[in-house]
Amino acid sequence: MGRYLVQRLMQLVPVVVITSFVVFLLLRLVPGDPARLLAGADATEEQITALRKDLGLDAPLPVQYVRWAGDVLTGDLGRSYIKRRTVTELVGNALPATLELTIAAMLLAGLIGVPFGILAGLRPNSPFDLALAGYSSLALGIPNFLLAIIFLLVFSLNLGWFPAGGRIEFLEDPFRAWKHLVLPATVLGITSAAVYSRFVRSAMVEVYSMDYIRTARAKGLAGRTIVLRHALRNALLPLVTVLGIQFGRLLGGTVVVESIFAWPGMGRLALDAIRGRDYVVFQAVILLLVMASVVINLLTDLLYGALDPRIRLGR
């Protein structure tokens, strides 16, 4: 395991360098001069030149990148010129909200997707299986912002069951916090639930056609034992990888969902930053979200290796 870990970490180095360089370049691609933009309309040429020097924009690109990467590595993500606060502070406020939303969405997706997938996989082509296939096609076809609009229209505007947006701290008022969480988490989780159920279903079908299941049947084991002790173990293993991929997707999805439900998280921070041309904040948020999904992918691979000895020994 130790050697595998080192190997995986080494593979991560170019990925981190390239992704961070891409994020860094994005800011430089923006048409116009950030210094001129920040200085305001009535700044003199001297002021702009001074600001450019102050921001380090007069140095060659590779030098700028190394400086920026150095700052990031020492925990300095820069300052928002619009909100007049450090990015670390802004992210510190937004991150718990996004984590709360994504974790709730993942739990919901798992609770719906996995058991439904198992049931459908046990009886392929049954009415339940077909219904689930219909549901998952629909869930994968509806854009999440449209689903959000439908939910808002039905459950908030017409039925009044849930608030239309905003977030309440759980420690403050758990019940109201929960009510605010339901709609955004459901919208975000429903697509993942479809992905999980499809995946678990086909894994179950595949495992059930294997010899060792037939052996277990021939031995006269109870159906429940076969499912729980024999089939599930192998069927659910690859799900770990899917979970990792879905987490990255959820992080991307938060941008849309948070903006609709006025959820004060990272996605909304990024979007506000784009709209306000607050590029330092935007750059930092994108970098953090990308790094988060890189780390999650690494963790799922390691977890997979730990759960399935064949993967670990194979490399």
């Binding site: 096609s137 509806i142 449209l146």
Partner: protein, 301 residues
């Protein structure tokens, strides 16, 4: 949405001899799909949507951008089957022209990104060595970005507008196609027929485009269909967030964004544009499933 399709095998094996219509695996794929009710339904819907988008000026006489005073927020009627928006514009016209944008973004940008990615992947796989290392490290880096987030970041950098959105879609799609094409190329390049072509004096370009590409096409086609649905989603999401298609040009995403302000009292507003967008993505997704089933012998059971 699953972005990476399962690695597939060349489609050569599924051609049934003696049946002259099934010589072409792609024709066969569509034929097989049309035999299932759901496949037939989704292909009909997709075909109808494409036809509507192509014939847009013939179908709707109203202009998608013309504002009519006194006609604001009208419920659906004979004159305005989808109703009108807050500026008195015909929502049917806006939806149909928005569908055009969706299809342009989905089909053309996805295809361009796919072609570019495929060429890069085959080049990396065939050349090996430094070329492979450089291309694939960049691809590894780009694939680490959550796709929607990457699209948003790119459009934020390039600025809004259709051509910039399409550019973003192209870039976002390159890594997946490059990986698939490279994997196929690695599997094919040491086979006898490639060695034979090499010994006959065929150059790298000829081997890649004349011999390896044909084997890479089935998995790339499946991925392309998946990608089209995703590209439509990406364009509409960007427009919904207000960083996509610029007003007054219609996009299904931006129509739905605006509808939020009025839907409390005008429930019809998001209904039709939303339904059309969903039908389009559903159609493209089921096309991908169909092709996957037909072109990937392993997934057919």
């Amino acid at each position: 949405m699953a972005q990476v399709s399962a690695p597939t095998q060349p489609a050569g094996g599924l051609v049934r001899r003696g049946d002259r219509w099934s010589k072409n695996p792609y024709v066969e794929a569509l034929r097989r799909a049309a035999r299932k009710p759901l496949g037939l339904l989704s292909m009909t819907v997709l075909g109808a949507l494409i036809l509507i988008a192509l014939a847009a000026p013939l179908i709707v006489r109203a202009s998608p951008t013309e504002q009519v005073r006194g006609q604001e927020l009208q419920s659906p009627s004979v004159n305005h089957p989808f109703g009108t928006d807050e500026l008195g514009r015909d929502l049917l016209a806006r939806t149909v022209y928005g569908l055009r944008i969706s299809l342009i973004a989905g089909v053309f940008a996805a295809a361009a990104g796919g072609a570019l990615g495929a060429v890069l992947g085959m080049l990396a796989g065939y050349a090996g060595g430094v070329v492979d290392a450089v291309i694939m490290r960049v691809v590894d880096g780009l694939i680490a970005f959550p796709t929607i987030l990457f699209g948003i970041a790119l459009v934020a950098a390039f600025g809004p507008g259709l051509s910039n959105i399409m550019l973003a879609i192209v870039i976002v799609q390159i890594p997946v196609f490059a990986r698939i094409a490279r994997a196929v190329t690695l599997g094919e390049k040491n086979k006898d027929y490639v060695t034979a072509a090499q010994s006959l004096g065929a150059g790298g370009g000829r081997i890649i485009f004349g011999h390896i590409l044909i084997n890479a096409l089935p998995p790339l086609t499946v991925q392309l269909a998946l990608t089209m649905g995703f590209s439509v989603l990406l364009e509409s999401s960007l427009s919904f967030l207000g960083i996509g298609i610029r007003p007054p040009n219609p996009s299904l995403g931006s129509i739905l964004d605006t509808s939020r302000r009025f839907m409390r009292d005008h429930n019809y507003y998001p209904l039709f544009p939303g339904a059309i967008l969903t039908l389009l993505i559903l159609g493209l997704n089921s096309l991908a499933d169909t092709l996957n089933e037909a072109l990937n012998p392993r997934s057919r059971k």
